[in-house]
């Protein structure tokens, strides 16, 4: 189990990581989600032993790692762009750590074959990294990291260098590979889709601090504040009267603030809210609307494909309670 206790990393006077405490149980995947510059990559590098701590401690199964250099931690780090060794073939890259340990070459060959199979790159042994596509390189990097069966694998935005379709496919593969290997993994990313695709648990980081931390669906359902909500993909946060009206229409208890996803309001002639359509745009899944709701103001809404709505129309709206989150904040906070 990985334990971070009040970890602080400083660059000069600024704390890039500020008093962070986290726990990651063996076999689980934890995603640290935050905007760029929030200190998440520094946190990852600190766990790898590449950044000295200004305060706090990082320990594994109760043993403090302060005096352990990177190469003795047994944590494999996978960089954003793979960082394959350009002068070595794919097979040599994957075998790198095994050769360091003087594994017999027959054993190395079998293990390399297994791993390339696992990441779906059988037969790529003799290729050089320069000849691979971005996705293939990431797969090789993953195989290389898994080769020594690390106690923990550290992933730095493993998918963000890839294009959208590839990302989706590799995300599924990566998750099943991590689960098949039973690997404990710490992942940092700025992309909530990537976090949802890979992780069991989620920690949200903002300007060096962890502001929320828990099971992934829990965090997603109950973001702790407005910034977190917006970062998790909620489109808008309503406060005061507006929040009260939406919650009333949803049949929920009144509260000070509520975060709405784009699809939280659905066009429905019998719905409790009345609105005027300002914009309507057809997407492959649904019709996206911008509506002006009485007493609330301009918000997003959706209508099923095929519904005839055009700007200027009057429409009824109902609230989809699974698409909103009540924020635990009070006026003045």
């Amino acid at each position: 189990m990985l334990t971070l206790d009040d970890v602080t990393v400083r660059y000069g006077d600024t704390a890039a990581v500020d008093d962070v405490s986290l726990e990651l149980a063996t076999g689980q995947v934890l995603a640290v989600l935050g905007p760029s510059g929030c200190g998440k990559s520094t946190l990852l590098r600190a766990v790898a032993g590449l950044e000295p701590l200004a305060a706090g401690s990082i320990s594994w199964d109760g043993t403090d790692l302060a005096g352990t250099p990177t190469h003795k931690r047994g944590f494999a780090l996978m960089f954003q762009d793979g960082q394959l060794f350009a002068h070595l073939t794919v097979a040599r890259n994957v075998a790198y750590a095994l050769r360091l340990r003087r594994t017999p070459s027959a054993r190395v060959a079998t293990r390399v074959r297994e791993l390339l199979d696992l990441v779906g790159l059988s037969g790529y042994d003799e290729r050089l990294p320069g000849t691979l596509s971005g996705g293939e390189r990431q797969r090789v990097a993953l195989a290389r990291a898994l080769a020594v069966e690390p106690r923990l694998i550290l992933l730095d935005e493993p998918l963000s260098a890839l294009d959208a379709t590839l990302r989706e496919r590799l995300a599924g593969d990566l998750r099943s590979i991590l689960h098949a290997a039973g690997t404990t993994a710490l992942l940092v990313t700025h992309d909530h889709e990537e976090a949802f695709a890979l992780a069991d648990r989620l920690a949200v980081m903002q300007s060096g601090r962890v502001v929320q931390n828990g099971a992934i669906d829990e965090v997603w359902r109950e973001p702790v504040d407005e910034e977190t909500a917006l970062f998790l993909g909620y489109a808008r946060v309503l406060r005061d009267e507006s929040a009260a009206r939406v919650l009333a229409a949803a049949g929920l208890r009144s509260s000070y603030a509520v975060a709405l996803r784009r699809s939280a309001l659905v066009a429905d002639a019998d719905g409790p809210l009345r609105a005027r359509v300002e914009q309507a745009r057809v997407t492959p899944e649904q019709v996206r609307l911008v509506v002006d709701v009485d007493g609330i103001g301009t918000v997003d809404a959706v209508a099923p494909l095929g519904s005839r709505v055009s700007p200027g129309d009057e429409a009824g709206l109902r609230v989809d309670v699974t698409r909103l989150a009540v924020l635990p904040i009070t006026p003045g906070s």
Binding site: G49, P69, T70, H71, F75, Q83, F85, A147
Partner: protein, 549 residues
């Protein structure tokens, strides 16, 4: 081929015409003149004589001596240079900039000065005189290493500085110890820089002149000093020409190898400089090794300075005061001070010439090629302009003498003869300083400027100039320092009544008399200070590529 591509190549050749013509007249002509001297006997082509020369036992001895001393000196330079390259370019050592500048000074120190310093150190009565190394191959190798460690530190250091640290970190995260990271990731990544530096150092060692002549004399001759001795004392021009041909063949081969190994800067790749990190306890051996190299550099220079301050067993400035005279027994035709003035004037002329041609050459070889044919033309030109780097300065100087002596090219009495020879020697240094900078400007920047309405002239002014003025200044300083210390070609071309400072020092050494030796020491210090001041100013400009090959 489309007409656009043809037009581009035509424009390229037109732009290259100037520098090619200059190099043709001032380099190819003299060198071929020198070489022809060996192959033509009594007006007929007679290559047999050259082969006869190459069969002489003394030539074999000289060739083998050149190869093994250069090889050992290269190996030592690399071994001593690598830790210093790391410490000075990757660690936050206090006084790092000053040490880097100090290490660059030996490279441009006049060879004669270094020769004098080593003789002062190793000779009878010198601090290390008891070792009995004076006049041995060991002394020559020490001198060669002294010059060339700086080349390794620079070339490898600059490559190390821009090396991405993340592959090393990835290796560490996979369980590689620092030593294993160095062996499996860092050194393979640095291999082009190391091999490139080593081949250039070997080239410099094999064509070294002043240092070998002052330390080895007649007894330990290399190909380069043998050419000099054959032409000036034995007057065996055929043998000298034969050795020149041998040298040119080897040098061209080595240059081709170096060019192949040198990493070509990719103009689209952004050069990142890794921030230095704090010194930690495990760095101690590297830091100690660097300090040892630095000390080894300082000892000969300190001995030289101290020696220049002793007159007849007492401390004093007598040697410096004597510089306004012509030495004991009329050793010189002109006072040393006027030789210094000549040196400075000559260096100024050599500098503007080298810069003028160098900027043109650097521009030509760094523009992006649009077709394969264009790329071939460019790389051929690139190799052509590098030739003076390796071809012996002695061959060049002697070639000047025998080919540029009749109309329309009678330059013997031209005051620009010496500067022209020196400019040719400095040209590769200028080109090597400017090409990485010009090559590093992304062509898309120029395209962006053009698309925003900037004329080609305006683009040059707003995109190229802001990035290049500092490197151009640095290249000028580098060329100035190199030409101040140039000895090989100048020793042939300088007129007796207006010699340059290195020539004067060499003459003083050749004349008996304690005063003459003291004056040689003092003049060496003056010359060393002048070059060092210029190089320190260059280092202040913080141009990363200076002194890297």
């Amino acid at each position: 081929m489309r007409s656009g591509a043809v037009r581009r190549i035509a424009a390229l050749l037109l732009l290259a015409a100037g520098p090619v013509l200059v190099l043709g007249v001032l380099f190819v002509l003299p060198v071929t003149g020198m070489v022809a001297e060996g192959f033509v006997a009594d007006g007929r082509f007679a290559p047999g004589a050259v082969l006869d020369v190459l069969a002489r036992p003394r030539v074999h001895r000289v060739a083998w001596f050149t190869v093994w001393t250069s090889g050992v000196a290269t190996l030592l330079s690399v071994v001593l240079g690598l830790p210093a390259a790391y410490a000075l370019h990757r660690l936050a050592l206090p006084g790092r900039a000053a040490v880097r500048a100090a290490l660059l000074v030996p490279f441009v120190l006049p060879t004669v000065v270094v020769g004098v310093a080593f003789r002062q150190l190793l000779g009878e009565g010198g601090p290390l005189g008891s070792l009995g190394l004076d006049g041995t191959p060991v002394a020559i190798i020490c001198g060669l290493v002294f010059f060339n460690v700086a080349v390794v530190v620079r070339t490898v250091g600059v490559a190390w500085e821009s090396l991405d640290p993340r592959p090393g970190q990835a290796a560490a995260a996979l369980g590689a110890s620092p030593w294993q990271v160095l062996r499996t990731v860092t050194l393979p990544a640095l291999r082009p820089a190391i091999v490139g530096a080593a081949s250039i150092v070997f080239l410099f060692c094999a064509t070294a002149f002043g240092i070998v002549l002052t330390l080895g004399g007649v007894r330990h001759a290399t190909v380069e000093t043998e050419i000099y001795l054959l032409t000036t004392t034995v007057f065996d021009l055929r043998a000298a020409a034969a050795l020149s041909v041998l040298q040119i063949v080897v040098v061209v081969g080595l240059l081709a190898l170096a060019a192949r190994l040198r990493a070509v800067p990719d103009p689209t790749a952004h050069r990142t400089v890794t921030p230095v990190r704090a010194v930690r306890r495990p760095d101690a051996p590297v830091v100690l090794a660097t300090l040892a190299v630095l000390a080894a550099m300082l000892v000969p220079i300190l001995t030289l300075v101290l020696g220049s301050l002793r007159v007849g067993g007492e401390w004093g400035l007598g040697n410096y005061r004597a510089l306004s005279g012509t030495g004991d027994n009329q050793a010189l035709l002109a006072p040393v001070t006027s030789a210094l003035a000549t040196s400075l004037r000559t260096a100024v002329d050599a500098t503007w010439m080298a810069l003028l041609v160098g900027v043109l050459v650097a521009t030509i070889v760094t523009r992006r090629s649009h077709s394969l044919a264009e790329r071939r033309v460019r790389s051929t030109l690139d190799g052509f302009f590098m030739l003076p780097l390796g071809v012996s300065a002695v061959t060049l100087g002697f070639g000047f003498l025998i080919t540029l002596d009749q109309p329309p090219l009678d330059l013997r009495d031209s005051p620009l003869l010496v500067p022209m020879a020196q400019a040719l020697v400095a040209l590769p240094l200028v080109v090597r300083t400017l090409t990485p900078v010009l090559g590093g400007i992304d062509d898309r920047q120029r395209q962006a400027a053009a698309s925003l309405g900037a004329s080609p002239w305006r683009t040059l002014l707003t995109v190229d100039l802001p990035v290049t003025w500092k490197p151009m200044l640095a290249a000028s300083g580098f060329a100035f320092a190199a030409s101040l210390g140039e000895f090989g070609a100048t020793s042939f071309l300088a007129r007796d009544d207006s010699p340059t400072l290195p020539v004067v020092i060499f003459r003083l050494l050749g004349h008996p008399g304690a005063m003459n030796y003291g004056m040689a020491l003092a003049a060496s210090v003056v010359l060393a200070v002048a070059t060092a001041v210029v190089m320190l100013a260059v280092e202040r400009l913080r141009v990363p590529g200076v002194g890297a090959f």
